[in-house]
Symmetry: C2
Subunit: 351 residues, 2 copies
Amino acid sequence: MAKTKQVSNKAVEAEQGNDAHRGRVTSYDVAAHAGVSQSAVSRCFKPGASVSKKMRDRVMKAVEELGYRPNAIARGLITRRSNMVGVIVSNLNFYPEVLSELNKRFISRGVHVLLFALDQESDVGSILEQLWQYPVDGVVAAAHLTPEQIALFDERGVPLVFYNRAYQDVPVSSVCCDQSEGERMLVSQLAGSGKHKDFGIIAGPRDSVVSMQRTEGALARLKELGFDQVNVVSGDYTYESGRRAIGKLLEARGEMPDAIICANDMMAMGCMDELRFKHDLDVPGDVSVVGFDGVKAAAWASFNLTTVTQPVESMAEAVVTMLLDRIDNDGLPPEKRTFSGVLRSGGSIRQ
Amino acid sequence: MAKTKQVSNKAVEAEQGNDAHRGRVTSYDVAAHAGVSQSAVSRCFKPGASVSKKMRDRVMKAVEELGYRPNAIARGLITRRSNMVGVIVSNLNFYPEVLSELNKRFISRGVHVLLFALDQESDVGSILEQLWQYPVDGVVAAAHLTPEQIALFDERGVPLVFYNRAYQDVPVSSVCCDQSEGERMLVSQLAGSGKHKDFGIIAGPRDSVVSMQRTEGALARLKELGFDQVNVVSGDYTYESGRRAIGKLLEARGEMPDAIICANDMMAMGCMDELRFKHDLDVPGDVSVVGFDGVKAAAWASFNLTTVTQPVESMAEAVVTMLLDRIDNDGLPPEKRTFSGVLRSGGSIRQ
DNA sequence: TCGAGTATTGCATTCGAAGTCAAACGGCGT
DNA sequence: ACGCCGTTTGACTTCGAATGCAATACTCGA
């Protein structure tokens, strides 16, 4: 009865145009305005519900007049579906296309993205702490989580799909680009010209699994081809670290390698600039350089980098499909999908 | 009474470890586990609430044991504060730093970002339609809205702050970089060398207000300096369109200008590459080029572009502060803040 | 030990929408 | 006009947490 009283109060307010709370329009306001029950309003927004045309028209008219939109959050409370997914990315600046592709695809399926970006200061733990406060339907992680952190998702029944992080021996879904295969293609390409004797590798951060896979892939292929004296130095995936890495390579070796394999395009571009503008060397004339990722800038004429392009669109599509499937259907087992990268031959390898 | 029964059911479930719904842990579960009321649990999470140490310890122990985290959304329903803000960006690929800076700052203040990115297909209208389904506390828009769309925010009492979109004569908050001033600095710099006679401008899309402001600023300063024959062609802010624009300039003029003013860095870089690699011209030897924005890549050795850097960090900070202020205090009037860009002299101007 | 006064605690209600269920309605045949 | 049956509709409850208020549990002084 209290509820009934409340409703009629709202009805009165709405009818009198009392705008005191000037908050959002609720289904009660619409109901009052249209002279029907709140349930009726709710039903008009549920596809396939039993509503007469007369009722629907009447409600929709009120909806238009008041500018009502159902509150997705309140709805989520009862349906246990917030239609929000969390996206955890380690660094927004690195791969904006990934976020963009994911967001676009989720949106088109009526799902919204709640962003969780790791900045150097904030660690994964605190981000997850925040994430758990939101009733997200699922999570995409483009960052490294510990097995314990992963287990929590399972416990709580929240689907999780990794983007470009593979966990061997951990039953969790992921979509990856075959890092190792990609590097092998690059090395084969370099070796194919027969012009390189002295290889150097600029790896990513030591704790990056992706960097490790790429580096291992390159080293393995190099070894197969008979090159087992390869210097490896580390960068942090940035342009600047690519430039600095040249100094380290030179120091380690005493002379400049004639082919440099970089763990990503950003460092490859830094490395090219350092070679050209600091050491006055020609790329590819004096030194060949290859990258990984296929970022836009790598294809620019100034660099025209030979690299392996990650099929970002296919990967994003796969992630979205896998996640939504698992949200709709909680029986699905973890699945790992691996896409091959596409070799993009530029002009950064000496022929 | 129904409620009471419900509660004790939950209590029983929780105590028996019945994990049937394996959903999230709720405050009722914690309450049952600790043998206290739900209100008590709730109060333990409210700073400054009246709770005895004994009670707090007891509740917190249960919280730890069950891994409880308050549901931010359910909380938002009653407090009318979702602690989420919507961020509308026109294109994620363009300025990832902006999103990154905004996100970082919001997070550190306990606010989360719900992402709304416009992709070519989706127009602002449909994005807003979606936005209104979420009870966001406020919105940052880095996209163009119509006055009607802006008015809705006012009506519904949802604070709105624009990033780099100024609306003259519309009372709405915004944080902008002074586009016109920036361009004037660039033109002055170009003119200062006394080596340029023939200016060309590569503007942004015709419907971009920012592009218009930049172009007008440049033209005005050029005119003051006595150059009133300036060709203007349009691009779409991308690298590729910068390259294509060179062809258009050449066509319009019959010969290549000796100074090209680009509406942003991306096009400036495309333009430099086109000049160097397609037309075999030297920059800055034959043609000077300037950009705008101060993106990372513009400072790379290959380009070393003279440009105006937008103070992204200060602007982001200003946006976040303004928005949160307005969320906490609904009396605040709209405010427009303008930051000056910083001239970054590179090596793309002939001296 | 008692009572006043304060500090804690629990009950019941609330937020906005959706789902359950039973009541009311509509159409139809007879 | 009556009764039957399928369709619509509305009253009430639910989701999870917060909060006003009333009911306790304490504290301390007398």
